[in-house]
């Protein structure tokens, strides 16, 4: 798989680190009750199809970014 880093351009997946579903909203710092944090941290929509997720170019510029990818095909979409 080749992932387009917004800084460095397309690189092998081996340079990156997956960071999970990017569509979930993290409760504001210091806000949100136990339930809100539980659902945010522990529950995943885990769709079979289009997915927006976080990646870090950890063996590169260390930039964290959003990537859209189809989990049914691994087809890569936009990175931002």
């Amino acid at each position: 798989m080749r992932i387009p880093c917004p800084h460095c351009g397309e690189r092998d997946v081996s340079e990156f680190r997956y960071g999970g579903d990017a569509t979930k909203t993290r409760p504001k710092h210091g806000e949100g009750d136990l339930k809100a944090w539980h659902d945010y941290y522990f529950l995943f929509d885990n769709p079979k199809g289009p997915h927006t997720e976080y990646w870090q170019h950890v063996l590169g510029c260390r930039h964290w970014f959003k990537l859209s990818r189809n989990t049914a095909t691994n087809e890569i979409g936009e990175a931002s």
Binding site: G19, L34, Y41, F42, F44, P47
Partner: protein
């Protein structure tokens, strides 16, 4: 017409080739309703149906399989069985599973080739050996066999590892579970299917569940590619696609689907007589009865439903193989494949009721679905039959994260695939 398997029966068939073997399991048309429906004709689903019939007298049961039985992870794993768990709950559950493995071929009258050849986990530092010691002590204290090995003992048992100065990490010792080993994975699905079928269970292949039928918050049936089927109780056992199926019932799970790759070399005469695992990086290898070296490592590290792995992971696993067992270099990779795993925050599974009445969930198996198969079916059947978890699977509830009851057997933290 069930016909027992035996050497004698084989001989009879050999002498009169004309008399055919009966089908291992029937291919019935789905009935309009069952007392219980199990979604998923994998190892866990078939085992569940078998134990529902066997232990709980529920024989009006259907197993619905999207493709052919055993088409999921039961046929895509590295076939290892063991019970070296340290966390209260895990220890007892996986030991119960290993005990069931021990008598399985007999119980099912189907040779699953359960081989207790022993597993050795190798430590690459004194500190790691201490953590293994804790594991081994817990095993012993729970009546499970375990032996702590020093470097010399490991050298004697596994003379072919790299003990040279060239090794990146020296081998400090290891822990041996003699009763651990491997099983012919496909046979598990077929054996449970045949035994369940014999007890009256309908195994329905090419039958995909497309939705749930609810009645006042109760699950009462499923819509399938082969029509509507009602069920008094409905169990989900579709690890790999759990989120996908649970979503049809409106459930959202602490699960992400990841790919785990597995590898097999061309067959050679016996060289490796144990299951060998390594502490430097997750790596495990055994030699199948056919002669191929079967091995694997970590998941690829991101969620996907494709069964295609990424090559960089294949390289890191091959690097482990050659670095630990230098002779592997000349053996040739025959095939590699991927299975879709339910990954959970703490690496442990779910076998439990759900918020929806009469709907039960089994999944989240991470790396350990295969070895758990018998106990998973056994406890899931109990949970479905009694509408209540058995002591052995009480810890595998969906709400354990809300309660802070993680079962992190390796002390690597929640969602560690992100690391």
């Amino acid at each position: 017409m069930f016909k027992p398997y035996s050497a004698l029966a084989l001989a009879q068939h050999a002498l009169s080739p004309e008399r055919p073997w009966p089908r291992a399991w029937r291919a019935p048309e789905p009935k309009s309703s069952y007392d219980a429906i199990i979604i998923g004709g994998g190892g866990h689903g078939l085992a569940t149906a078998y134990y529902l019939a066997k232990n709980h007298g529920m024989r009006n049961v259907a197993v619905l399989e999207r493709a052919y039985i055993g088409s999921g992870n039961v046929g895509r794993n590295t076939t290892l069985i063991r019970s070296n768990y340290v966390i209260d709950g895990n220890t007892q559950f996986f030991e119960h599973s290993l005990k069931l493995w021990e008598g399985l071929s007999h119980e099912l009258n189907f040779n699953c080739m359960v081989s207790h050849r022993g597993q050795i986990v190798l430590a690459t530092s004194p500190v790691q050996l201490d953590t293994y010691a804790r594991r081994g002590n817990i095993m012993r204290l729970n009546g499970i066999d375990a032996e702590l090995l020093d470097r010399g003992q490991v050298m004697a048992l596994l003379p072919y590892l790299d003990y040279s100065k060239d090794a990146r990490w020296p081998i400090w010792g290891g822990i041996l579970q003699g009763r651990a080993g491997s099983v012919r994975h496909d046979a598990v699905a077929w054996g449970y299917a045949r035994a369940a079928d014999t007890l009256g269970v309908d195994i329905i292949e090419n039958c995909e569940v497309e939705g749930f039928i609810m009645d006042e918050g109760k699950a009462v049936g499923v819509e399938t590619s082969r029509g509507r089927i009602l069920g008094g109780k409905i169990g989900i056992a579709v690890a790999g696609h759990s989120s996908h199926v649970a979503k049809m019932a409106g459930l959202s799970l602490p699960i992400e689907s990841h790919i785990l790759q597995a590898f097999v070399t061309e067959p050679v005469k016996p060289m490796v007589h144990h299951v060998v695992s390594w502490g430097a990086e997750l790596f495990y290898l055994s030699q199948s009865d056919k002669g191929g070296m079967v091995f694997g490592g970590h998941i690829d590290g991101f969620n996907t439903y494709t069964q295609r792995g990424q090559f960089p992971r294949i390289q890191t696993v091959a690097e482990c193989a050659v670095s630990l067992l230098p002779f592997m270099s000349k053996l040739r990779l025959l095939r590699h494949w991927g299975g879709i795993m339910d990954m959970t925050p703490d690496g442990s599974p779910f076998i439990c009721r759900t918020d929806i009445r009469n709907l039960y969930f089994n999944g989240g198996w991470c790396y350990q679905g295969f070895k758990a198969t018998p106990a998973s079916g056994w406890t899931f059947a109990h949970t479905i039959a009694h509408d209540e978890e058995h002591e052995l699977n009480r810890c595998y509830a969906l709400d354990r994260f809300e309660k802070g009851r993680e079962l992190d057997d390796y002390g690597i933290g929640n969602w560690t695939y992100k690391q």
